[in-house]
Each structure stands twice: as C-alpha cells, then as structure tokens.
Symmetry: C2
Subunit: 387 residues, 2 copies
C-alpha cells in the first residue's frame, strides 16, 4: 500500500497509477512573499504543484542537478534548500549563513557553492547529501571579511567569485575536494557587484559599482591577471541615481556582439567581443535590469527598474532598434526563455501573475496566477555553464 | 496489481516500487548491427536498459522531445521510431520511406521531419501521434526527384534542407501546419552532402562535395540569397580519395573561430567567423570525420576515417596544436560530450565497447560493452538548435 501511495502521490496528482514524468521541460517560479515555489512545465505552460517552506526567498536563485531532477535554491536568509521536482517536496535544507546571495553548481554536478554576505565567504556542499565540503572565509588583502558576490561555475570544477568590499576575484578549484585550490587576484577595482562567465567558459567578468568599467579574467590565461574593459561602463564621473542594480547574467553573444544593461542610464550597451570595446548604445524606455538575448533568435528582451517596471522592450539585433514595447503586467522582475527560445515567461510581481509570450508573434499565449512571483528558472539551465 | 507492475517494471528494474527517474542525464547508444539501442545515463556512466526492434540502424541519428522523455530515431531503412526512455520501450514506429538520412525536431517540439533518399523528399510528423502532417517531394528545378540531405531545424518552426542531386536549399516553414510555406534557392552548388545550423540559429551552411566550398544562407536575411564561402574547402582541383565523408555537425565556435574537417586531407580547417575565411589549418593524424569543440573548454576533439580510425586527437585551441593522441579502441565512430563538457563518450565499433573519458585529465574513467556501437546521443540535445 505504501508503494502504491508513493506512486500515486507523485506531483500531487490524484489517480492511483505511476505518474511517469520527464524533467526536461520543468521549471520553478519563486513566490517570494510566501517562501514558496511553483512547479511548472513549459510544454503546455501549466502549473503542476506548489512547494512550501523555503524561507526568505527575496532575491532567490536556483541551479539544477545534472539529471534535472533536483533544484538547489539559494535563499536570502542563508538557506540552501534541495527540492525533488518529481515528488514536489523538499528533501534537504541547511541554513548555512545569515545572509546569502546566490550560488552555483560545479561542472560535474557533484558540488554546490553558496556566496554569503553575512559573515561573508563561500561554503561548498555535496549535492547528494548537503554535507559541508569546504568553508572558504573571504578575508581580503586588507585583512577584513568581505561580502562575496558573482559566484559562478567554470570548467574543471572551478568556482569563480568576487569580494565586494575587498575588490578581489578568487578562483576556487574543487577538482580534488580534499585539497581545494585557491588563487586570488587583488586590486581588480572597487565594489564588484555581479559577474558572469561567458557561455564558452572562458571569461569571468565582474561589473564594478564603485568605478567605471568591468574587471575581466581570462580563465584560459589566468597568469595574465585581471584586465579592465569597458571603461565607460559604470556610474562614471556623473553618477545617476540607480533604482535597481542591473544583472549581468543575461549576457549572451549574437555573433560578435554582447549586450549589457547600463547602470542608471536608459540605455543598453553594445559590446564588440573581438575588441571588448563599446560599439553602440540602444536607447530604451528606462533603467534596464536584464538585457537578455533570445536563444536562436535575433531579438534582445529588456526589462526595467522603477518607475518603468511595467514595460518590456524587444530590440531587433541587426538594426539595434526597439521593435515593440510590451506591458505584460505590473513589476516585471524576471524573464526566462524556453530552452530553444520559442517562448518567454515573465513574472509580474504586482499583478500576481506569470505570463507566457510567443517570441515570434510577440503575443501572450498563456498566463497563470502566482503570488508575488520573482525569478523563473527552467531545468535546461542544468546543461549550461555560468548560470 | 497491473498498476503496481507498471511501476515496478520501469526501466526493467526489479524491486516493486516506483522507480522515479529524471531524464536530464539520459542518452542512447546505437548498436547498429542489432537494430538495438542501449539506454545509458551519464552521471555514473552506466547502462540502464536495452531496446530492440529498431530496424536498420546504419547511420542512424536521434533527436529528443522537449521534455527529454521521448527519442525519435531515424533509421536507414526509412523507419521513424519513437522510444519512451522512462519505460525503455518503443511506443510508435512508421516506415515512412525506403531509405532515409536523418531528421530534425521543430523549435517548439511539436513536429519531427525526416530527410529521405528514396524516393527523396521530406516528411513531417506530429511528435505526439506520429501522424503525417506534411509530405514535401523534392523535385528540383530540373524536374527530377532529388535525395534530401542536411535537414536541420531553425527558429520559427522552420526546417532547412538541401537537395543533393539538384543543388538546391529549401526552407520549409511549418509555423502553420495547415499551410506549410516553402522557399527554394536554386544553383547553390554541386552535391551538397551535409549541413548545419549555427548555434545562434542564424546561418544554414551546406558542405559541397561536387565543388570547392560551402553554401551559406543567412536565415535572418534570406532575401540576400545563398552565398559561397570557403572556396578552398572541398575536394578542389586535386581531389584525394575520400574514405568517409566528414560530418559538419560538430561545428562550434570558440570565440571567432570555427573548426571544420577537411575533405580527404589530413587537416582541420580553422575559419574566422567574422570574415568566413580560412585562417589556418591544423595537421592531424588522418582524414578527419568529426572535429568537435568540447563545451566550456578550449579543446577540439578529432576522430578519423580508415586507416586511422583507432585514433582520436585532442587539439589545444589557443595554440592550434595536437596535445594528445588517444587510442580509445578500434573504429571510433562517434564522440558525445556530456552537456557541460566534463566527460566525453566514444563508441569503438570494432572493440564492441563504449569508453568514457575525463576531458581535463584525458584519462579513461569508465567503459561498457556495446554491440558494434555507432552514434551516442544525450538528451541535452533537446534544448539545442540545429542538432
């Protein structure tokens, strides 16, 4: 009877039969106010289940196990929660710090690392057991503890991250988990606030809040040290008020071009990745938060900080022009493309809805209720680097 | 009781309990001589089950449903077979032509298209039911039926393919399945033999066997027509004997560089994707068949035609030098990287084994028996374009 029940209760579906379910089209929507996740699937754009008890999910982010079954949820309260998506339940949780800001999963899927604000530093856990594998305090060259930001996975079971207060980039090599290797780069610039690893796994780039520019480390040639690029990126000599820090994770290349939300300005910067120089700016409706390239497409999608956060603009890449301004709801916090880019899901926090759009027709094709939704994360992220 | 049995028999495992199983780390190995597939998983590098009854699997290839549950297997005998990987069984099969050469799945996952040699043409099927949705005979401008090759999926539920005999490229737009759109490009060059769509979904490129060069169509600007690039690619004025046609599918970019197996020559061509010109050649041990970039890495892996098909060479991309020559077994027909590139699986047909290698240490880490293995396909392909 117990076993029948097990089979019947999968995903909370009613009939007493084995509810076989693949995981390639699953995703989770963060319902931040309620500490809850909504399990969704992107083939028919429906919600499957809710999962409670995740703690403080402000600014929460999620990575996935390499089989796309388990989610690792990084909460703002320092909670690292492991969720089994096939059973729609929490299977492990550790409160590993007082305040954390995201994390990453290693290339081989065996380790998950968390970046902490309080007390700072990085903790690395086994993805099977959630046992602590490494505890790396982030003491800068100035001898002080630092917040850690921009934690990303890189090839070879390496984690790259930045020390916000100390202005450093560290590489943590976990190939041999009994002997973590640590390499530090000092003086990389003031207040790195977010970072990314390019899709080919080669470059780690940290945006600087405290000065103009981006710190770039070539992971193929770390001996060359950290280089400064895009000297006109950042707040500059004439800083504007910034209503929300932009995210760098949407960075993706279309041919040679990469796109970057400007800080505080109503512009998206266009960067030539051959020279790492700015080659253009796209005027947009507000302060951009995410500027994300649609997979397999020629369009860039941009959302905004207050007071323009009810808008989403779609930019045609060849002409670098806005071709449509959408109003998908109030307070659009996040956008997530289906893996091959035919649809995009958007969370409208203040409308308490998630809406789904066809990326070719630019029409809404589905929507569902969600309580104050923020991040949306599809399992296809399991197969990609630097997310 | 029936339901308990259902739950117990999943993947052929013995215990009477629901064997929940995610699908993100699954794959299939083609055992060509026996018309059989081996279901494998890449987390622990093990075989899970065998699936019989697939017909003639010479030159077979596989695409996956967007939830990573179902495989669509294109057999040489014209068979299109749908396999449920969670039950390890065939759930549908149509013999749709006398001789086929691969296929593709649409961006939204609703359609699968097959390229046929005999009688030629393309047939499109519903992925849910395997019902025929469109039948497109490939009659060239010369009025004759042509073999179809290089069938690839492109953004917007478009399929791109080439007519080998007629020297044409066609775009089949299946956005509205009741009204397929067809656009034809004539005189693109002699004997297109294989093709690819670049990972950004922008370019369709067909290698020409009958003359020097590659025919390239910019899918963002189809009105500009087909352009010829790489005029020294191909058999040229001084053709060499060709023991096996190279495959183009491994094409992937590292920064601006793409890599292409030369036809008949012991070289890999290096192409600058800014100019679409050849900028170098890497001398290798034999006639290359696949030249594949390791995901998230800096290494290119090359296998070879007879008489060098027991070798695999690893090329360091920054220096363009061979750094190691491996001997993974006899008759290495295919290589497949795990999605984030930490391992590579290789089929050794004449050793009746599949071997698994760590891409960082370049050491073998696992192997398993397989009967005359050829293609290896992991489910992560579901999330990518042009495979």
């Amino acid at each position: 009877m117990k076993r029948l029940l097990c089979a019947a209760l999968l995903l909370g579906l009613g009939a007493c039969a084995p509810n076989l379910r693949a995981t390639g089209d699953l995703g989770l929507v963060v319902e931040r106010a309620d500490g809850r996740l909504k399990l969704v699937e992107s083939t028919h754009s429906t919600a499957l289940a809710s999962i409670d008890g995740l703690g403080d999910l402000s600014h929460a982010s999620i990575v996935y196990s390499r089989d796309e079954r388990f989610a690792f949820v990084f909460g703002r309260d320092g909670g690292l929660t492991k969720v089994d998506m096939l059973r729609a339940e929490i299977v492990g949780r550790v409160v590993q710090s007082g305040n954390s800001i995201g994390g990453a999963i290693s290339q081989d899927g065996s380790l998950v690392a968390v970046a902490n604000y309080t007390p700072g530093g990085v903790k690395v856990f086994d993805t099977g057991t959630l046992e602590l594998v490494a505890d790396i305090p982030a003491i800068g060259a100035d001898g002080k503890a630092s917040k850690v930001v921009g934690l990303e996975d890189a090839p070879g079971n390496v984690f790259a991250f930045s020390l916000y207060d100390a202005g450093e980039i560290w590489l943590l090599d976990m190939k041999d988990r009994a002997k973590p290797g640590l390499r530090k780069f000092h003086g990389i610039g003031k207040q790195p606030y977010d970072a990314l690893v390019t899709e080919d796994g080669r470059y780690y780039m940290a945006g600087l809040f405290g000065e103009d520019g981006i710190a770039m480390l070539d992971l193929w040639n770390p001996d060359q040290g950290v280089r400064r690029i895009l000297d006109h990126y950042g707040r500059g000599q004439d800083p504007l008020p910034v209503y929300k820090m932009p995210h760098l994770e949407g960075w993706a290349a279309s041919g040679n071009l990469a796109f970057l939300p400007a800080i505080g300005r109503h512009e998206v910067l266009v960067v030539d990745m051959n020279t790492w120089r700015e080659v253009g700016r796209v005027p947009v409706a507000g302060q951009p938060v995410f500027a994300m390239l649609q997979p397999g497409g020629r369009r860039l999608w941009v959302n905004f900080a207050l007071p323009d956060n009810a808008l989403v603009q779609v930019v045609d890449v060849p002409s670098l022009k806005v071709i449509k301004t959408l109003e998908p709801g109030l307070a659009i916090l996040h956008m997530e493309f289906t893996p091959r880019g035919e649809r995009v899901w958007m969370s409208a926090r203040d409308s308490d809805r998630v809406t789904v759009w066809d990326t070719q027709s630019l029409e809404q094709v589905a929507d569902m209720p969600a309580a104050k939704p923020s991040g949306i994360f599809f399992t296809a992220r399991a197969h990609r680097m630097g997310l």
